[in-house]
């Protein structure tokens, strides 16, 4: 048995690529690295970090989040804090979504684009006040984002700080997450609405608790000082015993986000992609008076019309989809998968693919080339599963 790489996705290599001494030395670790080892986590290099890809097994962990509650250490994610009277203007200038209408304690999903419309990153903006925000960005993009934000700051009236290394982040996701966290927190968590957050103490440690996530389930993302991380993580695991909480690795994080059809930076969107084709027009506010970097390029793309559209693809029989598999219609290639995996909920392969608009209709019959075989598949409406986030 030998691991073979069909396609070139970096995610593939991770479960098996041996952690040699030299690679380990150059990888960053979260405050929980020893805890993960003790919990039986299988550690792999990911975006420059040594991260657990799985503990008990991807499918078990996936079901645990879908059916109950799980906790993810996502301390590899980057945090950038922006303060000062010009904060709002700077963020509005950088972001495609509407920053102006944000309220205090609100979070917003947005893109940050280049002049030509390519995506620097997709991220969450959190507003403490008009002159104080923090951004949660992709681990692999943190330095690039920081440089881009700094470059576009007009100098005075704003300070920009990369607080990633001193910040730990956990995601507690699943229907029991509120009841579980409430055991450790005096602030009423049911008052935190979807895409809002509060500064609150959890297990007596200062933290930011946001009702956000990347799984499609109700849940929270919690930010705190790295020095408290071990204690808070242990307290959540302990309090979660009643709910059968499990630690969840990056493997299940990927299958959970895939079932929701959520874009992953580096797969669906990157510097070269056209975000309007990715189904992200809902976070690109071209109609607003405010200008943002990339607006005119994106407006031009919009009026020219999309040549492609990101769709969900599901195998009709059993199998697994992988990034870069070719997709065909009537034996003619129409695209290749940007992401692909096995969906534990649907028990077969699912993927995301840019196709021409005439292939984008739900139910369109397609074939995916899996090694030498062409396997029957169809276009399905996203998300693959109904989301259960608490939109109230």
């Amino acid at each position: 048995m030998k691991l073979v790489i069909h396609g070139t996705a970096s995610f593939f290599k991770t479960p098996y690529s041996p952690l040699t001494m030299s690679t380990v030395a150059s990888l960053k670790t979260t405050p929980l690295i020893q805890v993960h080892k003790k919990l039986g986590g299988k550690l792999v290099p990911f975006a420059g970090w040594q991260m657990p890809i799985q503990f008990q097994g991807v499918i078990h962990e996936h079901q645990c989040v879908r059916d109950g509650v799980g906790i993810f250490d996502v301390s590899h994610m980057g945090e950038i804090e922006i303060r000062g009277p010009s904060s709002k203007n700077l963020i509005q200038k950088l972001m495609t979504n509407d920053i102006d209408t944000m309220q205090d304690n609100q979070a917003l999903y947005t893109l940050m684009c280049r002049e030509h419309g390519g995506v620097v990153d997709d991220l969450l903006v959190h507003r403490f006040s008009e002159d104080h925000y923090f951004l949660c960005v992709n681990a692999a993009n943190t330095e690039k984002d920081f440089a881009w934000i700094s470059k576009n700051a007009d100098g005075d009236g704003v300070t920009i700080q990369d607080t990633s290394r001193e910040t730990a982040q956990f995601a507690v996701q699943g229907k029991h997450s509120e009841a579980l966290l409430q055991k450790l927190c005096e602030t009423a968590l049911n008052e935190i609405k979807y895409y809002h957050f509060k500064k609150a103490k959890i297990y007596n440690f200062e933290s930011i608790i946001a009702r956000t996530g990347y799984t499609g389930e109700d849940g929270f993302e919690i930010y705190m000082h790295a020095g408290c991380a071990k204690k808070v993580f242990a307290a959540i695991l302990e309090a979660g015993k009643d709910f059968n909480i499990q630690p969840i690795g990056l493997g299940a994080r990927d299958t959970l986000r895939m079932e929701m059809g959520y874009a992953l930076y580096g797969n669906e969107i990157d510097e070269k992609s056209k975000p309007l084709e990715a189904g992200l027009s809902w976070v690109i506010k071209l109609g607003n008076a405010d200008n943002f970097i990339g607006k005119s390029a994106l407006a031009k793309q919009k009026s020219a019309g999309n040549k492609r559209k990101l769709v969900g693809i599901r195998l009709r029989g059993r199998g697994v989809l992988r990034p870069h598999y070719r997709v065909l219609k009537n034996a003619v290639a129409v695209g290749e998968l940007t992401s692909g995996t096995f969906s534990p909920s649907l028990n077969t392969g699912i993927g995301l693919c840019y196709v021409s608009p005439e292939c984008a209709e739900s139910g369109t019959e397609l074939e995916v080339e899996i090694r030498k075989l062409r396997v029957s598949a169809e276009v399905v409406k996203l998300p693959f599963l109904p989301t259960r986030v608490k939109k109230n």
């Binding site: 073979v4 790489i5 479960p15 991807v58 493997g251 697994v320 992988r322």
Partner: protein, 129 residues
């Protein structure tokens, strides 16, 4: 880690159970543990020839795709069709219900190059270091 005494092994973590002129082939406990949840197995056709050290099938976990290498040459006499619906049997019972193919050996002398359980145990220990 389970490594039955009566089986033969390869460095690529396949096992072979010889019975007369036939041999059943699967992947080891160590292999399935390394791969994690197995969700798809691609099997050869009955009657096809498999050739020592060449790929004859594929095992996919959620995150990995692995070639199965033939421990020895022969003609496929049976395949474990139940793996189509229940690939997780390779995880649950790698030496039992999770077997993969049965072949008729082309040449029993080929078996001489396979590892016994002691040699295979050492190999696994080496890989875990």
């Amino acid at each position: 880690m389970e490594i039955p005494k009566e089986l033969l092994y390869t460095l690529e973590h396949e096992w072979v159970r010889v019975a007369g002129k036939n041999a059943v082939i699967g992947i080891t406990h160590f292999a399935q543990e390394q791969l994690g949840d197995i969700v798809f197995v691609e099997l050869p056709e009955v009657g096809s020839l498999i050739e020592k050290e060449n790929p004859f099938g594929i095992v996919e976990s959620v995150k990995t795709v692995s070639d199965l290498y033939a421990p020895t040459s022969g003609t496929v006499t049976k395949v474990n069709n139940e793996l189509e619906a229940k690939p997780e049997m390779v995880n649950n019972e790698p030496y039992g219900a999770g077997w993969i193919v049965e072949i008729e050996l082309a040449d029993e002398k080929d078996l001489a190059s396979l590892l016994n359980s002691d040699a295979y145990t050492k190999q696994c220990q080496k890989e875990m270091e």
